[in-house]
Amino acid sequence: MAIIKEAIKQLLSRPVTLKYPFERVAPPEGFRGRPVWDMRRCIGCGLCSKICPSGAIEIIGKGKEAKIKYYVDRCMFCGQCAESCPRNAIAMTSEFELANYSREKMLYEYEREF
């Protein structure tokens, strides 16, 4: 009865559950979390917005005046935007705790500083 042996072993050892908000596992390298825009690099080509499968990215204006609106609640973290961006203006961060009570707070806006 292998299960009894296993059960006794588990009873005496530490549970595998992590007490989540207090104990965390760092996401591995290359994890696809929330994408962030580096507006100094962005050329406003609008490719990310057009290629996004879930319509999470909106681009307002063209070229140098462009402004990015990113709706994290629609995003499915496929990373296609970062892959398509010709200038590495988009980076996938390891940020994954993105839940929020209001939809407005799920909107990230990126504007140019100058």
Partner: protein
């Protein structure tokens, strides 16, 4: 300048580069296009699908084209940290003669074998993980195709003279996108180097994987279909049979079965690509290291080291006893030949551009841009005085110096023009490399400088604006102007070359 740019750069690319036939199929646009809408296939740049469906505004393919006017000055920034700059050589740290220690490599490459030796060394050391080179196609040896070499042995198949355009920039894109390489050595002709530097200046993400750029010294490339057709028609040599084309002074076509066909220069010249006829860049001025054959020395290459990274690689290769070096001063004739070729290319380019302009034919925007300044640059130059721009330390020669002696000096210091100053320190003329080149080799020992120096000088004063000096240069079609004291027109204060002007134009970028 032209009217405002199109939002979709491909329209400009087509209008200004492809339609006039300037595309040399380097493939930089294919590598850079984020939506894979461009493809170099079978000697043609193919527009696979309408990119405006995916992007609203995209300058990429035009910006990175080596023949577009965009980002030209920015590309210079990769080499400007070099201490020296010379007309027709560019920015550099040092020039040496070098050869691969391994004689097999030298044999394979019909020259010093430096590029191959350097790459093999770099890959072995883990400095790079792959190299983009051109290699011969199996069926048609003279036709080259880009190759991504991963192990040193692969590189051996890729060493040879290249006289045809190859899509190495495209291969670079492939290496990054498809092979997932992160440390790449890039080898290419001046236009390829410019394309890759433009990608870098544009901050395209694929250049994050670029480690080192090795430029080849290049006279011209031939149009592959045109030349092979000509050879077939005239000499009945099929493209597949040609083993090698040897264009060092005697023009020979070597075939697979040992036949040698001699051709004349004008014959082959007719098949040089249009774009090459207008290209001024002989030494790959934007590369980290430029390498070329050291004619008439067989088995040696001339190496121009421009940047720190290039220097590091080269030194380590020398230290590892992969490459043997020789001081270039030891062989003045090599340098003379080298500079002569450079000047031939440059002058031919200027003439060709002039000719085309007169005929009202299109000129690649990049070359047009080098001849015209934009308003902001004009105002910058107008606001500067010659004193601010000029080089103060001027090397002078005495009138009694022989031509040969001067050549030695030139080989040492690489300046192309020297003011001639008499014992009293009075300026009496100027002598340039062009003047020397006119003197036949056998007479060089006896001829004195004063015999060949220009006595009629174009000079300027320190108070003049840089813009005036630039206009003066263009008016007289000269590359350097001496700055003299207003009170004593025979006293040299400094010198301004075209390189200095271009260097000055980059000032605003530096401060930014």
């Amino acid at each position: 300048m032209k009217a405002s740019r199109d939002l979709i750069a491909y329209n400009d690319l087509k209008r200004l580069i492809i339609d006039p036939g300037f595309c040399n199929l380097c493939g930089a646009c294919e590598a850079a296009c984020p939506i894979h809408a461009l493809r170099v296939e079978k000697n043609k740049l193919e527009y696979v699908h309408d990119c405006s469906e995916y992007v609203e505004f995209c300058p990429i393919c035009y910006d990175v084209c080596p023949f577009s006017e965009a980002l030209l000055l920015e590309t210079l920034s990769f080499v400007t940290d070099a201490p020296k700059r010379r007309e027709s050589i560019g920015y550099y740290r040092k020039i040496v003669l070098a050869q691969a220690v391994d004689s097999k490599l030298r044999e394979l490459s019909h020259s010093g074998g430096v590029v191959t030796a350097l790459l093999i060394h770099a890959i072995k050391k883990g400095f790079v993980d792959s190299a983009i080179v051109s290699e011969s196609e199996e069926e048609v040896p003279i036709k080259v195709k880009p190759a991504i070499s991963l192990v040193p042995d692969d590189l051996l198949s890729a060493v040879d003279y290249k006289y045809f355009p190859s899509s190495v920039a495209k291969a670079f894109g492939k290496a990054v996108h498809e092979y997932g390489k992160a440390k790449i050595a890039f080898v290419g002709t001046p236009c390829h180097v410019r394309a890759i530097r433009k990608l870098e200046a544009w901050e395209h993400k694929i250049v994050e994987s670029l480690k080192i750029v090795i430029g080849l010294i290049c006279l011209w490339s031939f149009s592959f279909p045109k030349l092979t057709e000509f050879l077939k028609r005239k000499y009945n040599v099929k493209a597949g049979e040609i083993q090698r084309i040897d264009l060092n002074k005697e023009y020979k076509i070597l075939t697979k079965n040992g036949k040698v066909v001699s051709v004349s220069l004008p014959e082959v010249e007719a098949h040089i690509l249009d774009i090459c006829k207008m290209c001024e860049d002989f030494t790959s001025e934007l590369a980290d290291i430029s390498v070329g054959g050291a004619h008439p020395l067989k088995d040696w290459s001339i190496v121009i080291i421009r940047t720190e990274i290039g220097e590091r690689l080269f030194e380590s290769a020398v230290k590892a006893n992969v490459i043997r070096v020789k001081n270039i001063e030891e062989r003045a004739e090599v340098f003379t030949h080298f500079v002569e070729m450079g000047l031939i290319k440059k002058n031919a380019a200027i003439q060709e551009i002039e000719r085309r302009r007169k005929k009202g034919r299109a000129i690649p925007p990049a070359f047009a841009r080098l001849l015209e300044l934009v308003p902001s640059e004009i105002s910058l130059l107008s606001s500067l005085t010659a004193e601010q721009v000029m080089t103060r330390k001027v090397m002078t020669v005495k009138p009694q110096t022989t031509v040969e002696e001067l050549l030695t000096i030139m080989t040492k210091h690489h300046h192309m023009g020297y003011p001639v100053v008499n014992e009293k320190g009075k300026l009496i003329g100027i002598v340039t490399f062009e003047d020397i080149a006119k003197v036949p080799t056998e007479k060089r020992k006896k001829t004195l400088i004063k015999e060949i120096a220009h006595k009629k000088l174009v000079t300027a004063y320190p108070e003049d604006s840089a813009m005036e000096i630039y206009e003066k240069m263009n008016k007289h079609k000269i590359g350097r102007i001496l700055i003299v004291d207003k009170k004593d027109p025979q006293k040299i204060l400094g010198i301004i070359t075209k390189t200095d002007i271009i260097h000055t134009l980059r000032w605003p970028m530096k401060t930014k």
